[in-house]
Protein backbone atom coordinates (compact mmCIF):
# COMPACT_ATOMS: atom_id res chain seq x y z
CA UNK A 1 0.00 0.00 0.00
CA UNK A 2 3.06 2.19 -0.50
CA UNK A 3 1.84 4.33 -3.43
CA UNK A 4 -1.38 5.26 -1.56
CA UNK A 5 -3.80 4.80 -4.41
CA UNK A 6 -7.36 5.07 -3.04
CA UNK A 7 -10.40 2.98 -3.87
CA UNK A 8 -13.99 3.35 -2.74
CA UNK A 9 -15.55 0.27 -1.15
CA UNK A 10 -19.20 0.16 -0.14
CA UNK A 11 -19.53 -2.24 2.73
CA UNK A 12 -22.77 -3.53 4.16
CA UNK A 13 -23.04 -2.66 7.83
CA UNK A 14 -25.59 -4.03 10.25
CA UNK A 15 -25.60 -4.07 14.01
CA UNK A 16 -28.87 -5.69 15.14
CA UNK A 17 -28.66 -3.89 18.51
CA UNK A 18 -28.56 -0.49 16.83
CA UNK A 19 -29.75 -0.67 13.20
CA UNK A 20 -33.26 -1.46 12.04
CA UNK A 21 -31.99 -2.63 8.63
CA UNK A 22 -28.65 -3.26 6.90
CA UNK A 23 -27.16 -0.32 4.98
CA UNK A 24 -24.17 0.32 2.70
CA UNK A 25 -21.40 2.48 4.15
CA UNK A 26 -18.69 4.01 1.87
CA UNK A 27 -15.03 3.65 2.87
CA UNK A 28 -11.84 4.68 1.09
CA UNK A 29 -8.97 2.25 1.27
CA UNK A 30 -5.34 2.54 0.14
CA UNK A 31 -4.36 -0.29 -2.17
CA UNK A 32 -1.68 -1.70 -4.43
CA UNK A 33 -1.53 -4.71 -6.75
CA UNK A 34 -1.18 -7.15 -3.84
CA UNK A 35 -4.14 -5.92 -1.79
CA UNK A 36 -6.88 -8.51 -1.38
CA UNK A 37 -10.38 -7.67 -0.17
CA UNK A 38 -9.49 -9.34 3.13
CA UNK A 39 -6.49 -6.99 3.46
CA UNK A 40 -8.84 -4.09 2.76
CA UNK A 41 -11.34 -5.23 5.40
CA UNK A 42 -8.54 -5.75 7.92
CA UNK A 43 -7.18 -2.26 7.13
CA UNK A 44 -10.62 -0.77 7.84
CA UNK A 45 -10.95 -2.72 11.10
CA UNK A 46 -7.48 -1.65 12.26
CA UNK A 47 -7.66 2.01 11.19
CA UNK A 48 -11.18 3.23 10.44
CA UNK A 49 -14.00 1.23 12.02
CA UNK A 50 -12.88 -1.20 14.75
CA UNK A 51 -16.43 -2.48 15.13
CA UNK A 52 -16.53 -3.92 11.56
CA UNK A 53 -17.29 -7.65 11.82
CA UNK A 54 -16.16 -10.29 9.34
CA UNK A 55 -14.84 -13.83 9.51
CA UNK A 56 -11.34 -14.79 8.44
CA UNK A 57 -8.51 -17.07 9.42
CA UNK A 58 -5.92 -18.52 7.05
CA UNK A 59 -5.68 -15.73 4.41
CA UNK A 60 -4.82 -18.32 1.74
CA UNK A 61 -8.11 -19.90 0.54
CA UNK A 62 -7.78 -22.93 2.80
CA UNK A 63 -10.12 -22.29 5.73
CA UNK A 64 -13.17 -21.03 3.81
CA UNK A 65 -14.08 -18.45 6.48
CA UNK A 66 -14.03 -15.20 4.52
CA UNK A 67 -16.80 -15.76 1.97
CA UNK A 68 -18.59 -12.52 1.02
CA UNK A 69 -20.52 -11.11 -1.92
CA UNK A 70 -18.30 -8.81 -3.98
CA UNK A 71 -20.31 -6.82 -6.52
CA UNK A 72 -23.07 -9.40 -6.14
CA UNK A 73 -20.92 -12.49 -6.77
CA UNK A 74 -19.90 -14.95 -4.02
CA UNK A 75 -16.10 -14.78 -3.51
CA UNK A 76 -13.46 -15.52 -0.92
CA UNK A 77 -12.21 -12.12 0.29
CA UNK A 78 -8.66 -13.45 0.66
CA UNK A 79 -8.53 -14.81 -2.90
CA UNK A 80 -10.06 -11.76 -4.62
CA UNK A 81 -7.83 -8.81 -5.39
CA UNK A 82 -8.85 -5.17 -5.26
CA UNK A 83 -6.82 -4.49 -8.45
CA UNK A 84 -9.57 -6.25 -10.45
CA UNK A 85 -12.13 -3.65 -9.32
CA UNK A 86 -10.61 -0.31 -10.43
CA UNK A 87 -13.98 1.47 -10.15
CA UNK A 88 -14.61 0.32 -6.60
CA UNK A 89 -16.80 -2.50 -5.32
CA UNK A 90 -19.66 -3.38 -3.02
CA UNK A 91 -18.97 -5.92 -0.26
CA UNK A 92 -21.98 -7.65 1.31
CA UNK A 93 -22.51 -10.77 3.40
CA UNK A 94 -23.25 -14.08 1.63
CA UNK A 95 -26.83 -14.12 0.38
CA UNK A 96 -29.30 -16.91 1.24
CA UNK A 97 -28.04 -16.94 4.86
CA UNK A 98 -29.39 -14.88 7.77
CA UNK A 99 -27.06 -11.97 8.64
CA UNK A 100 -25.81 -11.85 12.23
CA UNK A 101 -23.78 -8.66 12.01
CA UNK A 102 -22.01 -6.72 9.22
CA UNK A 103 -20.45 -9.41 6.98
CA UNK A 104 -21.01 -12.32 9.38
CA UNK A 105 -23.77 -14.79 8.47
CA UNK A 106 -25.39 -17.60 10.42
CA UNK A 107 -24.15 -20.91 8.92
CA UNK A 108 -26.05 -23.18 11.33
CA UNK A 109 -28.29 -24.73 8.64
CA UNK A 110 -25.33 -25.38 6.37
CA UNK A 111 -23.42 -27.14 9.16
CA UNK A 112 -26.49 -29.22 10.06
CA UNK A 113 -26.85 -30.35 6.45
CA UNK A 114 -23.22 -31.43 6.33
CA UNK A 115 -23.79 -33.42 9.52
CA UNK A 116 -26.99 -34.99 8.08
CA UNK A 117 -25.04 -36.48 5.15
CA UNK A 118 -22.46 -38.20 7.37
CA UNK A 119 -19.25 -37.11 5.63
CA UNK A 120 -17.04 -39.73 7.22
CA UNK A 121 -16.14 -43.37 6.55
CA UNK A 122 -18.99 -45.68 7.61
CA UNK A 123 -19.03 -49.46 8.01
CA UNK A 124 -15.32 -50.12 7.68
CA UNK A 125 -14.43 -52.78 10.26
CA UNK A 126 -10.66 -52.48 9.81
CA UNK A 127 -8.62 -51.99 12.96
CA UNK A 128 -5.30 -50.14 13.36
CA UNK A 129 -3.59 -53.54 13.66
CA UNK A 130 -4.72 -54.34 10.08
CA UNK A 131 -2.38 -51.63 8.80
CA UNK A 132 -3.17 -48.78 6.42
CA UNK A 133 -6.25 -49.08 4.21
CA UNK A 134 -4.53 -48.55 0.89
CA UNK A 135 -6.13 -47.21 -2.29
CA UNK A 136 -5.02 -47.29 -5.89
CA UNK A 137 -4.53 -43.95 -7.71
CA UNK A 138 -7.65 -44.78 -9.77
CA UNK A 139 -9.72 -45.26 -6.59
CA UNK A 140 -8.45 -41.94 -5.27
CA UNK A 141 -9.17 -40.18 -8.57
CA UNK A 142 -12.88 -41.12 -8.33
CA UNK A 143 -13.49 -38.76 -5.40
CA UNK A 144 -10.39 -36.55 -5.25
CA UNK A 145 -12.02 -33.53 -6.93
CA UNK A 146 -14.96 -33.61 -4.53
CA UNK A 147 -12.68 -33.78 -1.48
CA UNK A 148 -11.38 -30.29 -2.31
CA UNK A 149 -14.43 -28.62 -0.66
CA UNK A 150 -13.47 -26.24 2.16
CA UNK A 151 -17.04 -25.59 3.41
CA UNK A 152 -16.88 -21.90 2.55
CA UNK A 153 -20.60 -21.72 1.66
CA UNK A 154 -20.09 -19.78 -1.59
CA UNK A 155 -22.06 -22.44 -3.48
CA UNK A 156 -25.03 -21.91 -1.13
CA UNK A 157 -24.96 -18.18 -1.85
CA UNK A 158 -24.82 -19.02 -5.58
CA UNK A 159 -27.62 -21.59 -5.49
CA UNK A 160 -31.04 -20.18 -6.50
CA UNK A 161 -32.74 -23.35 -5.27
CA UNK A 162 -31.28 -22.92 -1.77
CA UNK A 163 -32.54 -19.34 -1.93
CA UNK A 164 -36.04 -20.58 -2.74
CA UNK A 165 -36.01 -23.47 -0.29
CA UNK A 166 -33.62 -23.17 2.69
CA UNK A 167 -34.42 -26.78 3.64
CA UNK A 168 -32.54 -27.98 0.52
CA UNK A 169 -29.43 -29.88 1.63
CA UNK A 170 -27.45 -27.85 -0.88
CA UNK A 171 -24.34 -28.28 -3.04
CA UNK A 172 -21.47 -28.53 -0.52
CA UNK A 173 -23.16 -30.98 1.88
CA UNK A 174 -24.19 -33.29 -0.97
CA UNK A 175 -20.74 -33.03 -2.57
CA UNK A 176 -19.15 -34.07 0.73
CA UNK A 177 -21.58 -36.96 1.11
CA UNK A 178 -20.90 -38.02 -2.47
CA UNK A 179 -17.16 -37.83 -1.87
CA UNK A 180 -17.57 -40.59 0.76
CA UNK A 181 -20.02 -42.55 -1.44
CA UNK A 182 -17.21 -42.79 -4.01
CA UNK A 183 -14.54 -43.74 -1.47
CA UNK A 184 -13.53 -47.41 -1.75
CA UNK A 185 -13.01 -47.58 2.04
CA UNK A 186 -16.58 -46.51 2.79
CA UNK A 187 -19.70 -48.70 3.03
CA UNK A 188 -22.28 -46.07 3.98
CA UNK A 189 -23.62 -45.21 0.51
CA UNK A 190 -27.12 -46.68 1.07
CA UNK A 191 -27.40 -44.87 4.39
CA UNK A 192 -26.56 -41.52 2.76
CA UNK A 193 -28.81 -42.16 -0.24
CA UNK A 194 -31.76 -42.44 2.17
CA UNK A 195 -31.16 -38.79 3.02
CA UNK A 196 -30.26 -37.72 -0.52
CA UNK A 197 -33.41 -39.21 -2.06
CA UNK A 198 -35.83 -37.06 -0.06
CA UNK A 199 -37.81 -34.01 -1.19
CA UNK A 200 -35.07 -31.66 0.05
CA UNK A 201 -32.18 -33.88 -1.08
CA UNK A 202 -30.58 -34.01 -4.52
CA UNK A 203 -33.91 -33.58 -6.33
CA UNK A 204 -34.24 -29.92 -5.37
CA UNK A 205 -31.27 -29.21 -7.67
CA UNK A 206 -32.18 -28.06 -11.19
CA UNK A 207 -28.58 -28.01 -12.47
CA UNK A 208 -28.16 -24.26 -12.77
CA UNK A 209 -24.43 -24.89 -12.39
CA UNK A 210 -23.49 -21.54 -10.81
CA UNK A 211 -22.25 -23.41 -7.69
CA UNK A 212 -19.42 -24.93 -9.73
CA UNK A 213 -18.59 -21.56 -11.29
CA UNK A 214 -18.10 -19.84 -7.94
CA UNK A 215 -16.36 -22.73 -6.15
CA UNK A 216 -12.91 -21.36 -5.21
CA UNK A 217 -11.41 -24.88 -5.04
CA UNK A 218 -12.98 -26.18 -8.30
CA UNK A 219 -14.68 -29.01 -6.41
CA UNK A 220 -17.47 -29.02 -9.04
CA UNK A 221 -20.50 -29.52 -6.78
CA UNK A 222 -22.90 -29.42 -9.78
CA UNK A 223 -21.24 -32.58 -11.16
CA UNK A 224 -21.45 -34.27 -7.74
CA UNK A 225 -25.16 -33.51 -7.55
CA UNK A 226 -25.87 -34.92 -11.02
CA UNK A 227 -23.92 -38.08 -10.19
CA UNK A 228 -25.90 -38.33 -6.95
CA UNK A 229 -29.14 -38.09 -8.92
CA UNK A 230 -28.06 -41.08 -11.05
CA UNK A 231 -27.10 -43.04 -7.89
CA UNK A 232 -30.34 -42.05 -6.21
CA UNK A 233 -32.40 -43.11 -9.23
CA UNK A 234 -30.68 -46.51 -9.33
CA UNK A 235 -31.18 -46.91 -5.59
CA UNK A 236 -34.86 -46.01 -6.03
CA UNK A 237 -35.27 -48.62 -8.79
CA UNK A 238 -33.51 -51.23 -6.63
CA UNK A 239 -35.75 -50.42 -3.67
CA UNK A 240 -38.89 -50.82 -5.84
CA UNK A 241 -37.64 -54.20 -7.13
CA UNK A 242 -36.69 -55.33 -3.61
CA UNK A 243 -40.10 -54.29 -2.33
CA UNK A 244 -41.73 -56.41 -5.06
CA UNK A 245 -39.45 -59.34 -4.23
CA UNK A 246 -40.19 -59.02 -0.51
CA UNK A 247 -43.93 -58.95 -1.24
CA UNK A 248 -43.60 -62.11 -3.34
CA UNK A 249 -41.65 -63.81 -0.56
CA UNK A 250 -44.20 -62.82 2.10
CA UNK A 251 -47.01 -63.93 -0.24
CA UNK A 252 -45.21 -67.26 -0.76
CA UNK A 253 -44.87 -67.70 3.01
CA UNK A 254 -48.59 -67.11 3.51
CA UNK A 255 -49.57 -69.72 0.93
Amino acid sequence: MADEKKLLLKIQRYNPERDSAPYLAPYEIPWDDQTSFLDALQYLKDNVCPDLSFRSSCRMAICGSCGVMIDGAPKLACKTFVRNYPDGATVEPLVNFPVERDLVVDLTHFLEYIEALKPYVIGNARKPADGPNTQTPAQLARYHKFSMCINCGLCYAACPQFGLNPAFLGPAAITLGHRYNLDSRDHGKNERLQTMNTENGVWSCTFVGYCSEVCPKHADPAAALQQCKADSALSFAASVLNCKKNKEVSHGNKT
Binding site: Y113, A116, P160, T195, N200, G201, S232
Partner: protein, 116 residues
Protein backbone atom coordinates in the same frame (compact mmCIF):
# COMPACT_ATOMS: atom_id res chain seq x y z
CA UNK B 1 -30.85 -30.54 14.05
CA UNK B 2 -33.12 -30.54 10.97
CA UNK B 3 -34.84 -33.76 10.08
CA UNK B 4 -33.67 -35.05 6.72
CA UNK B 5 -34.83 -38.63 7.10
CA UNK B 6 -38.20 -37.83 5.48
CA UNK B 7 -40.24 -39.74 2.94
CA UNK B 8 -38.41 -41.04 -0.11
CA UNK B 9 -39.45 -39.02 -3.17
CA UNK B 10 -40.81 -40.42 -6.46
CA UNK B 11 -38.79 -37.79 -8.37
CA UNK B 12 -36.34 -40.41 -9.81
CA UNK B 13 -39.17 -41.72 -12.03
CA UNK B 14 -39.86 -38.28 -13.52
CA UNK B 15 -36.18 -37.42 -13.69
CA UNK B 16 -35.55 -40.71 -15.56
CA UNK B 17 -38.25 -39.82 -18.11
CA UNK B 18 -36.89 -36.25 -18.32
CA UNK B 19 -33.36 -37.55 -18.92
CA UNK B 20 -34.49 -40.13 -21.48
CA UNK B 21 -36.58 -37.50 -23.30
CA UNK B 22 -33.76 -34.99 -23.28
CA UNK B 23 -31.30 -37.53 -24.67
CA UNK B 24 -33.77 -38.82 -27.26
CA UNK B 25 -34.61 -35.29 -28.34
CA UNK B 26 -30.98 -34.16 -28.56
CA UNK B 27 -29.91 -37.20 -30.60
CA UNK B 28 -32.96 -37.75 -32.81
CA UNK B 29 -34.74 -34.40 -33.14
CA UNK B 30 -32.21 -32.81 -35.56
CA UNK B 31 -32.33 -35.89 -37.82
CA UNK B 32 -36.13 -36.01 -37.72
CA UNK B 33 -36.53 -32.31 -38.43
CA UNK B 34 -34.05 -32.49 -41.29
CA UNK B 35 -35.64 -35.59 -42.80
CA UNK B 36 -39.36 -35.07 -42.22
CA UNK B 37 -39.65 -31.30 -42.39
CA UNK B 38 -36.97 -30.35 -44.94
CA UNK B 39 -35.62 -33.23 -47.05
CA UNK B 40 -38.93 -35.05 -47.47
CA UNK B 41 -41.20 -32.18 -48.55
CA UNK B 42 -38.65 -29.97 -50.34
CA UNK B 43 -35.96 -32.22 -51.81
CA UNK B 44 -37.44 -34.82 -54.05
CA UNK B 45 -39.28 -37.22 -51.84
CA UNK B 46 -42.70 -35.65 -52.40
CA UNK B 47 -43.76 -37.80 -55.32
CA UNK B 48 -43.37 -41.14 -53.64
CA UNK B 49 -42.65 -42.18 -50.07
CA UNK B 50 -38.93 -42.47 -49.44
CA UNK B 51 -37.08 -45.02 -47.31
CA UNK B 52 -37.19 -42.88 -44.22
CA UNK B 53 -40.91 -42.24 -44.55
CA UNK B 54 -41.57 -45.95 -45.13
CA UNK B 55 -39.70 -46.71 -41.92
CA UNK B 56 -42.42 -44.94 -39.95
CA UNK B 57 -45.02 -47.28 -41.38
CA UNK B 58 -43.31 -50.32 -39.85
CA UNK B 59 -43.92 -51.45 -36.25
CA UNK B 60 -40.42 -50.45 -35.14
CA UNK B 61 -40.77 -47.07 -36.85
CA UNK B 62 -44.10 -46.40 -35.14
CA UNK B 63 -42.67 -47.40 -31.76
CA UNK B 64 -39.72 -45.06 -32.37
CA UNK B 65 -42.05 -42.17 -33.20
CA UNK B 66 -44.31 -42.87 -30.19
CA UNK B 67 -41.27 -42.96 -27.89
CA UNK B 68 -39.91 -39.79 -29.45
CA UNK B 69 -43.14 -37.83 -28.98
CA UNK B 70 -43.95 -39.10 -25.48
CA UNK B 71 -40.44 -38.91 -24.00
CA UNK B 72 -39.78 -35.41 -25.30
CA UNK B 73 -43.19 -34.41 -23.87
CA UNK B 74 -42.14 -35.76 -20.45
CA UNK B 75 -38.85 -33.89 -20.76
CA UNK B 76 -40.46 -30.58 -21.70
CA UNK B 77 -43.26 -30.73 -19.14
CA UNK B 78 -40.86 -31.74 -16.34
CA UNK B 79 -38.79 -28.68 -17.21
CA UNK B 80 -41.94 -26.50 -17.27
CA UNK B 81 -42.93 -27.84 -13.81
CA UNK B 82 -39.50 -26.86 -12.45
CA UNK B 83 -39.59 -23.45 -14.17
CA UNK B 84 -42.98 -22.72 -12.58
CA UNK B 85 -41.49 -23.73 -9.22
CA UNK B 86 -38.56 -21.37 -9.80
CA UNK B 87 -40.93 -18.53 -10.71
CA UNK B 88 -43.08 -19.37 -7.63
CA UNK B 89 -46.09 -19.69 -9.94
CA UNK B 90 -49.02 -22.03 -9.64
CA UNK B 91 -47.78 -23.83 -6.56
CA UNK B 92 -50.79 -26.07 -5.94
CA UNK B 93 -51.03 -29.04 -8.29
CA UNK B 94 -48.33 -27.70 -10.62
CA UNK B 95 -46.43 -30.97 -10.91
CA UNK B 96 -49.61 -33.06 -11.17
CA UNK B 97 -50.94 -30.92 -14.02
CA UNK B 98 -47.64 -31.09 -15.95
CA UNK B 99 -47.19 -34.84 -15.47
CA UNK B 100 -50.86 -35.55 -16.26
CA UNK B 101 -50.44 -33.56 -19.50
CA UNK B 102 -47.34 -35.61 -20.35
CA UNK B 103 -49.25 -38.83 -19.62
CA UNK B 104 -52.10 -37.69 -21.91
CA UNK B 105 -49.67 -36.82 -24.72
CA UNK B 106 -48.12 -40.27 -24.28
CA UNK B 107 -51.55 -41.92 -24.48
CA UNK B 108 -52.65 -39.93 -27.55
CA UNK B 109 -49.34 -40.46 -29.34
CA UNK B 110 -49.56 -44.24 -28.84
CA UNK B 111 -53.22 -44.35 -29.97
CA UNK B 112 -52.62 -41.99 -32.89
CA UNK B 113 -49.51 -43.70 -34.17
CA UNK B 114 -50.59 -47.33 -33.83
CA UNK B 115 -54.20 -46.82 -34.90
CA UNK B 116 -53.50 -45.34 -38.31
Amino acid sequence: MSNHTGKQTKEPVFWGLFGAGGMFGAVCAPALILSLLLLYPYFGECEEAGLFYQFFKTGVGRLFLALFISLTAWCGLHRIAHCLHDLKMWTAGRARLCYASAALITLFSIIGIFRY
